[in-house]
């Protein structure tokens, strides 16, 4: 399976955790649900009626996410417009026109996206755009103000692999349900973190899968015995191992991996 690998980074990022509204916190990792929007922006797919989602899902877009930079989080105040009561009439509001909300941001975030699609035309268009550093709409890390840059890294031919019973080096975050019991080789100097990420959403933006995912907060790879993954060799000989977070896992595959 042809897989495009590219990096996306920015000075600031914010992917709001779904359970925090009045004090927004951010995920440490770019969730696949946000990656849909980024791909849609690069490809110029319409947001009207969530067409970008429909098209990307029809193309069976699969997304893997890796961390390149260590996770740094900073909180600072954002001045928001007070919209309570559905109206914004600054001078008539007793509590003031604006409200300051302390918001958590990612600082100097850099992620590596692994993307595969069944729709060859759309995939080729994506590869071409990424290689030429071309987008239809501006890409950002979570909020429109947090502009992002991106760069082509590699394009590889990924092969589906089953666990050999030994931990392997993984370049993406891995859902815990794919990791076999006691299958993580803990290495000194790494800060392991699990976070429940929204992995997939349907074309009316209802999240259809949430999962605990494991990664290293220092932005390095982790070694884990993963039930199944993809492996491919890059142009410079680097072997990439990755999982697509939003890939539908069939029942037979799930049975191979034991839930931790």
């Amino acid at each position: 399976m042809r897989t495009l690998i590219f990096d996306i980074w920015g000075e600031w990022g914010h992917f709001r955790k779904y359970y925090s509204t009045s004090s927004p916190l951010t995920f440490s990792v770019l969730p696949p649900t946000a990656a849909y929007g980024i791909l849609g922006a690069v490809l110029g797919l319409s947001k009207e009626n969530n067409m970008y989602l429909t098209q990307l899902k029809e193309a069976h877009t699969r997304i893997g996410v890796g961390l390149i930079h260590p996770v740094k989080k900073i909180m600072f105040g954002l001045n928001l417009i007070n919209t309570k009561g559905n109206v914004w009439v600054p001078k008539q509001r007793r509590e003031g026109a604006r409200t300051q909300i302390r918001t958590e941001f990612l600082k100097d975030a850099r992620f590596r996206l692994f993307v595969a699609m069944d729709d060859e035309a759309l995939y080729n268009k994506l590869v071409s755009h990424i290689k030429q550093h071309k987008t239809y709409y501006t890409v950002s890390l979570g909020l429109s103000e947090l502009l992002a840059n991106f760069q082509f890294v590699d394009e590889i031919d990924g092969h589906w692999k089953k666990s050999t019973g030994e931990p392997v080096e993984m370049h993406t975050v891995v859902p815990l349900s794919l990791i076999r019991h006691k299958g993580v080789r803990l290495q000194p100097g790494k800060r392991y973190k699990k976070e429940r990420l929204p992995l997939d959403m349907n074309d009316v933006r209802i999240v259809s899968a949430y999962e605990e995912c494991l990664f290293d907060m220092n932005g390095q790879t982790i070694e884990a015995d993963v039930a199944h993954y993809y492996e491919g060799t890059g142009n410079n000989g680097t072997i990439y191992r990755y999982v697509f977070l939003n890939e539908r896992i069939s029942e037979s595959v799930v049975q191979q991996g034991e839930v931790l």
């Binding site: 955790k17 779904y18 359970y19 925090s20 509204t21 009045s22 004090s23 916190l25 740094k72 989080k73 909180m75 928001l80 417009i81 007070n82 919209t83 309570k84 559905n86 302390r102 958590e104 006691k182 993580v184 803990l186 800060r191 392991y192 973190k193 699990k194 429940r196 929204p198 933006r205 209802i206 999240v207 259809s208 899968a209 949430y210 999962e211 605990e212 494991l214 907060m217 931790l260």
Partner: protein, 599 residues
């Protein structure tokens, strides 16, 4: 984090074999509400009785708070103003249920209607009786019902209505057959968030992503009924056992288990369960027991495996909502070990001659000293933000810039210097300066031990006589100009001591320009100090040696130092503070120091 709370709640529910109803009922604090008034209805007769509230038994009253301006989920209510409470909470519950009679079964409604009729008929008498009894009691009160000798929890109709009303409220905005964001499973019904945490709200359209439609708010944070119960129980456990005070702030300590090994889980949760609520890092009341108290909960937790992580959730209540001030995520036990080790290293450099402990204790309160209020006249602390940032940097191992720190250190030190200059001759004020400077020094050394102190570009030039002191106390003195300032501070302090001894005042303090000296001021200060010492006949060979080394460092440093005014002055006061170490080297341990001990 939210999953960690859910898991904690699940664990508590299993351990205590609690039922759903027990989770829904809120306990009543016997300290705040020591009296319970019961309107007892028995065979069309009524009477008002009073009993003492026992928190452990309070679930029998079937209490759960409702909206602030509406009835609760049962007639049980806390009495604020009887006139309002009686009608708007107590009677209003019956009105609400009877109004919605179509939602409940016919026998239940006629049972409730019957009770309502009795109360309604005797409303004024009941009210007057309550009023009289209330006027005879002191302290908070609760108003509830007792039907035919049964408390509300023992009455199946009230229990059924209570459960129904709570569920109805929870599922105001809900959807069927959707995935729960907490457990990740597809569930029959999911609701829009859980009432456990008030930092999830959807009262403003901007909070509802995707068309701002409140009806669709469940899509943002779908929570199934089971997870909702676990979250509520988890939150209750956090409130009761894992909420700690921290220098005017509050935080919840949330454990999370990465791989969920049962042994670690049980061990850690048991520590948390048995831990004393107010013994932690440094509660304000127990400042001396801080950070390293043998019974300190973090102290106990540092021995755990790195399979467990801790999140420190700093919350502030704003009306009925909660605001997250800061989340310090992923603190691992090995990081705690490092912090405690650094603390030990700091303490060993500040021995005490008297007192139960051989060393001066170090705790994060010494950081709070500088990051509390920018102005003493302010009512509330306005530097919480910086204090939390620093706390977070300590726990996460993020760098701290010395220039940022010295700005606040000097602000506090200057306040005391100004006070002393105004009241010359008061020794205790000079001691206060020493305490503040020592706190600042302890902080600098603590950050250096944790390897999070950034001091800029260093230029190591060894000192001929005092390198030992620089190694122990001067992680920030990594350039010749900084060492020169430090030693000049020490020499100046010797002069001030001499003045204090000779004239019982320290007029030379005025030469220090309120510790806002610049590079040229320091260059000019050395000859002034030398001259003054000569006037007192105190510029002996040892002090000359010190002056020589200062000159040597000044010459090596050249001009145009890349230091902020605060940084320069902090190096200077560090030397003033540690003068006794310099004296010990120059004169041996004969000369007495004037450093006061902290009371």
């Amino acid at each position: 984090m939210i999953t960690a709370v859910q898991e904690l709640g699940k664990w508590v529910l299993q351990q205590e074999s609690k039922e759903t109803l027990d989770v829904l009922i809120e306990p009543i604090s016997e300290t705040n509400y020591p009296h319970v008034f019961l309107v007892e209805i028995e065979n069309d007769q009524w009477k008002v009785e009073m009993e003492e509230c026992e928190e452990g038994e309070s679930h029998k009253y079937l209490y759960r708070r409702g909206a602030s301006n509406g009835p609760n989920f049962s007639p049980t209510t806390i009495v604020t103003d009887l006139a309002k409470t009686f009608d708007k909470k107590f009677m209003a519950w019956f009105d609400k249920v009877i109004k919605q009679k179509a939602n409940f079964s016919e026998p239940d409604i006629s049972y409730i209607q019957n009770i309502y009729n009795i109360i309604h008929k005797n409303r004024d008498d009941i009210y007057r009786t309550l009023e009289t009894k209330l006027s005879e009691t002191n302290g908070g009160c609760v108003l509830t019902l007792k039907i035919n000798g049964h408390y509300l929890k023992e009455d199946p109709v009230f229990v059924s209505l209570f459960t129904r009303l709570v569920q109805e409220k929870d599922s105001e905005v809900s959807a069927k057959d959707q995935v729960c964001s907490v457990c990740g499973h597809r569930q029959d019904v999911v609701m829009a968030g859980s009432p456990a945490f008030k930092f999830y709200t959807n009262d403003k359209p901007g909070f509802i992503s995707g068309e701002f439609d409140k009806e669709l708010a469940w899509r943002n944070h779908p929570v199934c009924m089971d997870c909702n119960l676990c979250l509520q129980e988890g939150k209750r456990f956090l409130e009761n056992r894992l909420k700690f005070r921290f220098y005017g702030l509050e935080y919840h300590l949330i454990p999370e288990f990465i791989f969920g090994e049962p042994d670690t889980r049980d061990e850690v949760t048991e520590i948390l369960r048995s831990g004393n609520k107010y013994k932690t890092l440094h509660s304000q009341q127990q400042i001396e027991n801080s950070l390293a108290d043998e019974e300190d909960i973090l102290d106990a937790l540092q021995e755990a495996d790195d399979d467990v992580l801790f999140h420190l959730l700093f919350l502030r209540k704003v009306q009925s909502a909660e605001r997250i001030l800061m989340v310090v995520e992923d603190v691992i036990p090995s990081r705690l070990r490092k912090i405690f080790e650094a603390k030990k290293q700091v303490e060993q450099r500040f021995p005490l001659q008297e007192g139960p402990s051989p060393y001066r204790r170090y705790h994060l309160g010494r950081i709070r000293t500088f990051f509390n209020k920018s102005d003493d006249n302010k009512r509330q602390s306005d530097l919480d933000k910086y204090f939390l940032e620093i706390t977070s940097a300590v726990f996460r191992g993020q760098p701290l810039d010395i220039r940022f720190l010295t700005r606040f250190f000097m602000q506090e030190i200057r306040k005391h210097v100004a006070g002393t200059s105004e009241r010359e001759g008061e020794g205790s004020d000079t001691d206060k300066i020493f305490h503040v400077v020592r706190d600042a020094l302890m902080n600098v050394i603590f950050f250096d031990e944790l390897k999070i102190l950034e001091t800029g570009e260093g230029n190591f030039v060894p000192s001929k006589h005092f390198e030992g002191i620089f190694e122990l106390y001067g992680p920030h003195l990594d350039r010749p100009e900084k060492k020169a300032l430090f030693l000049l501070g020490a020499l100046t302090q010797m002069l001030l001591k001499k003045q204090q001894y000779e004239r019982n005042s320290q007029p030379f303090l005025k030469q220090l320009k309120g510790l806002k000296m610049q590079e040229k001021d320091f260059h000019g200060l050395l000859p002034k100090v030398q001259d003054k010492l000569q006037q007192y006949n105190a510029f002996d060979a040892k002090k000359q040696l010190l002056a020589e080394e200062i000159s040597d460092f000044f010459l090596r440093a050249g001009t145009g130092w890349k230091l902020s005014v605060d940084e320069m002055n902090f190096c200077f006061v560090s030397g003033m503070n540690l003068v006794h170490h310099i004296e010990n080297i120059l004169y041996g341990k004969r000369e007495e120091t004037t450093e006061g001990e902290e009371k």
